[in-house]
């Protein structure tokens, strides 16, 4: 008999009831809440006269609407200039206060982007089922958890019942063998995966990321990769629990301690796919083949190595794809067969739930240290993912490195990933962005997003156009050796 996959094990551990029609009631251990997708759910509960099933399973923090400049941030909610954003953040506070939900409020040190806060606080743990009204909830799967984005109706459903009505997904293994080259990061790995399987490649699947590259990857790198599982169409991405996982979780504020830790570890150590597990689909990449990536179009699958050239629609035989390429080139203001490194950059955004953790900050700082932002780059902002990341970065002096290089150091939040606050692109501007979506208008009306790693974004900010960060790093290494 075939063994179980990691996803099978997580699923089985949480089935409350299997129904005849193929759906199941799945118990949810942790519910993360932010201000954008929750107000209608709280209102729904109130209208129906329902109470949350288990308040102590919920943790909330505002992230999408919060300003990131110190001037606006200093006065908390009262300081938010956009009146509609202010109401939304205030509404989250009101709902959490009324129901007794733990919330890291706007200027709490623990506030930040939900998908950064969950793992770093220990609110999200291996073996859990985790949901949030946000598609990037797939991030937490890096811990060896089943973590999925849900809609607002489901937010209300989970609040009221602690369960999700769900149908089991299929199993996909994405295996990346071998080793990554120097200067190639987890972001490049996940962009290369999406480039290979497409934005719908993972639809209907839970993806497990396996192979030597993930075994060697840090927990923060795994969080980056699982974060973008949804950009490959998969609601859930995950990585097996190993010593890297346990070392990361141990000591986090809300992680179990003492006997409870030992008991938890005994359960977590089983959270890997059995050697004889069968996957419905297996995709294999070779780590050594992956180069630093840059997206050129308006879908994350429109991505290329930095050494590449923009595609020519004339070479595409599929009619729907061909018009897709033509539309993307027009929107992005690019020419067919233009080299990636000839694309100039107007703004740089380093942040988002994909790339705003301390390792991301360090990688970007390493590139810019001792260099200067190109004059042609109007603005380069660095937005840490949480108050704790910000503090850590400042303790390491990274904020000074960024500021000396002409990069702005901001307060934590989602910021320019989706421009719900004041951080945004102007029409026609190209942005080297460490976020996760290059959709039309995503970072501002008419804005042109290029998805890259923190190191590549930093390098583009220095050069004024896309450039292979490995060149900068090797020049710096040579300079240091002199």
């Amino acid at each position: 008999m075939a063994g179980k996959t990691l996803y099978d094990k997580l699923w089985d551990l949480h089935v409350v009831s299997q129904r005849d029609d193929g759906s199941a009631l799945i118990y949810i251990d942790r519910h993360i809440v932010h201000e954008v997708t929750s107000p209608q759910a709280f209102e729904g509960l109130r209208l129906a006269g329902r109470k949350p099933w288990r308040v102590d399973s919920v943790v909330a923090t505002p992230d999408h609407n919060v300003p990131t400049t110190q001037a606006e941030r200093a006065h908390g909610i009262a300081g938010i200039e956009d009146p509609i954003s202010k109401i939304q953040v205030q509404t989250l506070d009101d709902n959490c206060d009324e129901l007794g939900i733990l919330e890291f409020k706007i200027n709490d040190k623990r506030q930040g982007i939900v998908h950064v806060v969950g793992p770093e606080s220990g609110a999200c743990l291996p073996g859990m089922t985790i949901v949030c009204g946000d598609s990037h909830t797939s991030t937490n799967g890096a811990l060896g958890a089943l973590s999925m984005g849900i809609g607002t109706s489901e937010v209300e459903h989970v609040m009221a019942t602690q369960c999700l009505v769900s149908k089991k997904m299929k199993n996909m293994l994405v295996r990346v063998d071998g080793q990554l080259g120097a200067g190639v990061t987890p972001k490049d790995v996940v962009l290369a995966i999406i480039g290979k399987i497409g934005t719908a490649g993972g639809t209907g699947f839970a993806i497990e990321f396996g192979g030597d590259v993930f075994k060697a990857m840090s927990m923060e790198g795994r969080l980056t990769v699982c974060n973008m599982a949804i950009e490959a169409g998969a609601r859930a991405g995950m990585v097996a629990v190993d010593d890297i996982t346990l070392d990361y979780v141990k000591g986090k504020s809300f992680a179990p301690k003492g006997d409870a830790w030992d008991m938890a570890v005994a359960e977590w150590k089983n959270l890997h796919s059995d050697t004889n597990a069968e996957f419905d689909q297996v995709v294999v990449l070779n780590g050594a083949d992956i180069e630093p990536q840059v997206s050129w179009g308006t879908s994350p699958e429109m991505v290329l190595p930095v050494s590449g050239v923009v595609p020519n629609p004339a070479h595409e035989s599929d009619a729907v794809k061909k018009t897709g390429i033509e539309r993307a080139l027009e929107y992005m203001g690019l020419e067919a067969e233009q080299s990636i490194d000839s694309i100039h950059v107007d703004r740089v955004f380093i942040g988002s739930c994909t790339n705003s953790r301390i390792e991301d900050m360090r990688a970007a700082a390493e590139v810019v240290q001792g260099l200067q932002k190109a004059d042609s780059v109007k603005e380069a902002i660095v937005v840490p993912g949480s108050g704790l990341v910000k503090q850590q970065a400042e303790d390491e002096g990274l904020d000074i490195i960024f500021e000396q290089a002409g990069f702005e150091w901001r307060e934590p939040g989602c910021s320019m990933c989706l421009a719900m606050n004041a951080d945004r692109l102007n029409e026609g501007e190209h942005c080297a962005s460490t976020s996760n979506r290059n959709f039309e208008g995503r970072q501002g009306y008419g804005g042109r997003t290029h998805l890259v790693s923190p190191a590549m974004a930093a390098a583009a900010g220095i050069a004024g156009h896309f450039v292979d960060v490995r060149t900068i790093l090797s020049q710096k290494a040579a300079g240091a050796g002199e």
Partner: protein, 215 residues
């Protein structure tokens, strides 16, 4: 939730693949704490030639004359015909809310993104998966025939063409049941409250670390 049983309506096109939820409802409209009010800004960046904002009077905005859903012949469309991977991207339920309020009761595509697909059912709107070559045929027939309408019969799981030809589609039994009856699925789940409690009690013993958060 409102029920969906049978619907006949004018078909309107969204002739591109990978339509994402940012395109369906841009983020600035997500600041609302209401469940309604999104319809006038569905596909905002395609419908209008300027940038939309919450509270902005749409009647004074320049309409994009090249956007098909703005064409006279598609006014009143209630069945959206589109391409693969519709609704990819964010989990925002504001996307189905906006499409529902725009007037769409059903969406036909070769494939949908998972979260969007799921969100549709929660709002009495039916996403229908039909093979790509048949979707292509429907596009051609729609473009060729002004006033092209389709009938969708959820009970029988068929889309009926003007010619009377039927196209069968699959739908999950539980979702079909909820949609046909307009059931509130929270109410249905709470019928299993004893099972939830029993599961919880067992986990409190086997995994106590899951239950002492925030205390």
């Amino acid at each position: 939730m409102k029920a969906f049983t049978q619907h006949t309506g004018l078909v309107g096109p969204m002739d591109r693949a990978n339509v994402d939820t940012d395109l369906i409802i841009p983020k600035q409209f997500l600041k609302s704490i209401q469940r309604s009010g999104f319809g006038p800004n569905a596909f905002d960046e395609l419908r209008y030639l300027d940038e939309g904002a919450p509270g902005k009077d749409n009647s004074t905005r320049p309409v994009n004359p090249e956007f098909p859903l703005n064409f006279e012949r598609y006014q009143g469309a209630s069945v959206l015909l589109t391409r693969e991977n519709f609704g990819c991207g964010s989990s925002r339920e504001h996307a189905p809310w906006a499409l529902d309020e725009y007037g769409f009761r059903a969406i036909i595509a070769p494939s949908f993104a998972d979260i969007f697909f799921n969100n549709c059912f929660k709002n009495g709107m039916l996403p229908i998966v039909i093979a790509e070559e048949i979707v292509e045929q429907l596009f051609q027939e729609m473009y060729a025939t002004e006033g092209y309408s389709l009938t969708i019969d959820l009970e029988k799981q068929v889309v009926v063409k003007p010619s009377g030809e039927e196209i069968a589609f699959e739908v999950d039994a539980f979702r079909k049941h909820c949609l046909l009856n307009g059931f509130d699925d929270i109410g249905l789940t709470l019928q299993d409250a004893d099972k939830i409690t029993a599961y919880e009690e067992a986990r409190r013993k086997s995994a106590p670390w899951l239950f002492n958060f925030g205390s």
